[in-house]
Symmetry: C2
Subunit: 522 residues, 2 copies
């Protein structure tokens, strides 16, 4: 079923009639419905079960529109689909232009609501290379069941008419990242509407057109239309749930700043026979600089690196409660021991990290030569937490290197400098992306934890702060609004790879989570 047709009217009827119907829907939803009343978990489950097929049909339809943001005309089609889908649910829709691709905004107010909750999704997807996929067309969603050998095999879509198995999956680009979650919210709104209820808050929905490209236009749109984005809470529905597949809330994410280190040997590579023991090798200097930064357990030795980081009891409780399995994680990474920065996996992500992304001096493998190389380079990144601002952290590292007795330059050394300073370290950093973290005890956190606990009859997994950095951070920072990530899809969804998929059990749970939020008093 295509959502962008008004099935109640025949083809011969006018556009006007279609528009009138949408208007009627809106009026019904916004005026005639009563504020949401608590629904029992059992009732919710029944409602969601009935909504599975329509949800799958709507997702299939949305997935069918290619959405790599390198093709603006594809993004435009995705925006048009959203305009119709949200208008049908009674939203007022806007397409906010900027120098990049337009941002989609949908808004709906309810008479008795005083607060506004903004939901963030993105409508673009990762690029696809069709030949790497198991299916012919990554945009034609297929239904699959796990076979005896563990591989997923196609099954007929029509089987969904009679039964829906939670372990089946639908495969297609953006089925999980991030069209699946959009559909979950839309379908939850439909369920609410069918109960003649309205949410206890006003809703704004943002669909980012370029999240997979780092959301380059988000900042400009925000500056131009700041008033349109006013909200009390921001809910980001993107990314996978905790590996346990228990309903998850993520209260923040680390930021990041990258920097380059380079050291120098002779001005051009020299014969290692003629100059070995004479020309200084830049690899040894780079190794000394890097080796000085961490101890054998992975703890950073740069003075002040961990300053200001502390956990209160609730935070410690929340982190300890996350059902991470160290043995399972280490076995998957095939490591004997993890670094010893935190007492557990979650704790380790609450600290800034210092990581070498890459390192190079001359050539290893084919083309290697018996030389003293001219240069050695390392790229590092620091994952930031709210207590550790990018500029300060880079400056701490700079000071640390100087304290070891090396000369730090923020530019490639001149001939004069090379002749003057025996141990030069070039260091240059990017601007960085800040971290954000909403307090475990903040009203939005308490509200969402309660909503999920009530519906699932157990506490959600609460991630105090995830380790990675998501582009939406700059949005969160600019709006200065309490934000929480509510991830809905299965962790093994292959979101940036071929064979992206959504587990039907996660579609079911995701719709229930949306319904829980939409009916939870704020």
């Amino acid at each position: 079923m295509a959502i962008n047709s008004c099935k109640f009217f025949s083809q011969t009827e006018s556009k006007y009639a279609c528009f009138s119907f949408l208007l009627l829907c809106t009026i019904l939803f916004t005026s005639l419905s009563a504020p949401a009343q608590k629904l029992s978990p059992k009732k919710m489950d029944a409602m969601v079960a009935r909504q599975m097929l329509p949800a799958l049909e709507e997702l299939k339809d949305y997935v069918s529109i290619p959405n790599d943001a390198v093709n603006p005309e594809d993004i435009q089609e995705n925006v048009q689909w959203a305009e119709k889908a949200f208008a049908k649910r009674g939203f007022q829709t806007s397409v906010l232009k900027n120098a990049r691709l337009p941002l989609f905004l949908a808004e709906m107010s309810f008479p008795k609501a005083s607060k506004t909750v903004m939901f963030y999704f993105h409508l673009d997807g990762q690029p696809v290379r069709a030949d790497e996929w198991q299916q012919e067309d990554p945009f034609r969603m297929v239904l699959r069941e796990k076979g005896a050998d563990g591989a997923y095999e196609d099954i007929n879509w029509n089987l969904l008419q009679s039964t829906i198995n939670d372990e089946w999956r639908v495969f297609g680009r953006s089925s999980s990242d991030d069209k699946g979650p959009i559909i979950m919210l839309l379908q939850a709104l439909d369920m609410l509407q069918s109960e003649r209820q309205s949410p206890p808050f006003n809703i704004k929905v943002v669909l980012d057109p370029e999240e997979e490209k780092g959301s380059p236009g988000l900042k400009e749109t925000l500056e131009k239309h700041k008033d349109r984005f006013q909200a009390d809470y921001l809910i980001v529905m993107d990314g996978p749930m905790h590996a346990s597949n228990i309903p998850t809330l993520t209260l923040g994410c680390r930021g990041s700043v990258g920097f380059t280190l380079a050291t120098y040997g002779p001005i051009t590579p020299q014969h290692s026979g003629h100059y070995g023991n004479y020309a200084p090798n830049p690899g040894f200097l780079l190794a000394k600089v890097i080796a000085s930064m961490k101890d054998e357990q992975g703890r950073v030795l740069v003075d002040g690196f961990y300053n200001g980081i502390a956990f209160d009891e609730e935070a410690l409780k929340v982190m300890a409660a996350v059902p991470d399995n160290k043995e399972e994680i280490n076995a998957r990474l095939v490591i004997a021991e993890e670094e010893k920065v935190g007492n557990n996996y979650q704790e380790s992500l609450q600290y800034p990290s210092l990581n070498i992304r890459g390192m190079q001096s001359a050539v290893v493998g084919k083309g290697a030569a018996t030389i003293v190389p001219d240069e050695a380079v390392a790229l590092l990144d620091i994952r930031l937490v709210p207590e550790t601002e990018a500029k300060r952290m880079v400056s701490l590292v700079d000071s640390h290197i100087q304290k070891q007795g090396y000369t730090v330059l923020n530019h490639a050394p001149t001939t004069e400098e090379r002749l003057r300073y025996p141990q030069i370290v070039f260091m240059q950093s990017s601007g960085g992306t800040p971290a954000f973290r909403t307090d475990v005890n903040a009203p939005i956190s308490v509200w969402l934890r309660k909503a999920l606990a009530n519906s699932y009859k157990k506490e959600p997994v609460v991630i105090r702060m995830m380790g990675g950095t998501v582009p939406v951070v700059s949005f969160v920072q600019a709006l200065d609004v309490p934000a929480v990530l509510v991830p809905l899809v299965n962790v093994d969804n292959n979101q940036h790879s071929p064979d992206e998929n959504l587990r039907l059990g996660n579609l079911r749970m995701g719709m229930k989570t949306c319904l829980s939020i939409l009916t939870s008093p704020i």
Copy 2:
């Protein structure tokens, strides 16, 4: 003048006549000539001056035959040229076959000589890419003079008929490396013959056909024909003179052994956000391993690395006498300070060196990703001296790494090993090439130092042991004969690059050096 024609006979005369003439020359040289008598430096200079034009003509002729050993038919032509050239001087020539390219051997005995001196050269050259040369054909030798702007400009070859300027140069592949030195010896023999003298020792001359490819066939030829290579002394005439361009003797060269080090992180690269502070980064481990091996002044910290190395007074005197200019070397390398292994450049080359040839972990520059890499790799080499045998040195490094608390494996770790040992270092070494060094006070060293000192009225530069490794080392080792390198060409001859050249002053000096050796009582 082409040497491979008998200019005393017209074209109509038979091959037999030509052969008869060669035979006559041989008889004259070997039987009628008297043992060499000391020639005064002045006399030598006059003889060499007369020989410059014939030498240049013969070199031009030899250079005209392409000699990249990837083309066996070119090497065959070069061997045929040598057969004629040496036969003309009275040598008995042989072409010793092996699975690779044939080795050329020329022998000549003299009745009153009791000792045999073997001369080693190579007839192959580095590959050429004609478009990178200033001249049309790298095998058509051209004469050039330095212009006002410092660049060399073509001058007419016929200018040589009237005057020969030592600062002029001839350009062509193998003009210096190593056909120039072959011609110098041949012309010195001609000079001696014109004086009706014969050398005070028997002569063997080896022309290696694949030196630029690492002399892969040398060992096999030697094993097959060991008796043919018996000699008392070996003189290697290859490579450039000391930068001062003072007559040079090199008494040995360092050997080398390479090894690979690798360290491991997670089994596949992981997101540096999700696993930064948890998954160990292989770059830090590699940096720690490498940083532990050298101090800030470049001295190796591996126990026993410098064991057994000592200099007697003569060695110290010889090394201190080499006119190296530290300021000039450092300015050329653009380094503020050299490593502090030896008290001067020559001394530093008498110790084994530890060098990083290359280093890599993931990617820097284009394609760099925010990951914890799975692996970090470094290629190192140790330049060996006679006191430090390859296997022992590699094992010292192995022990050193283990002493730091790391697990050293000589194979890529299995999954089981990765899960068992937290800090694995993979280490694997090549077989290595040994060093050789002939004592400063050995008879061959004393003989050659005296020969050169007498002719030039000043002490030659004596390099106790050069830093690099030359393929002829395995030949020296296998023959177990006292060997000395007598380099004859200018240091700036571009020997492995486009625009290879020979300075005419060096051709003159080289012929004089050969004449000095050929007339020096043994």
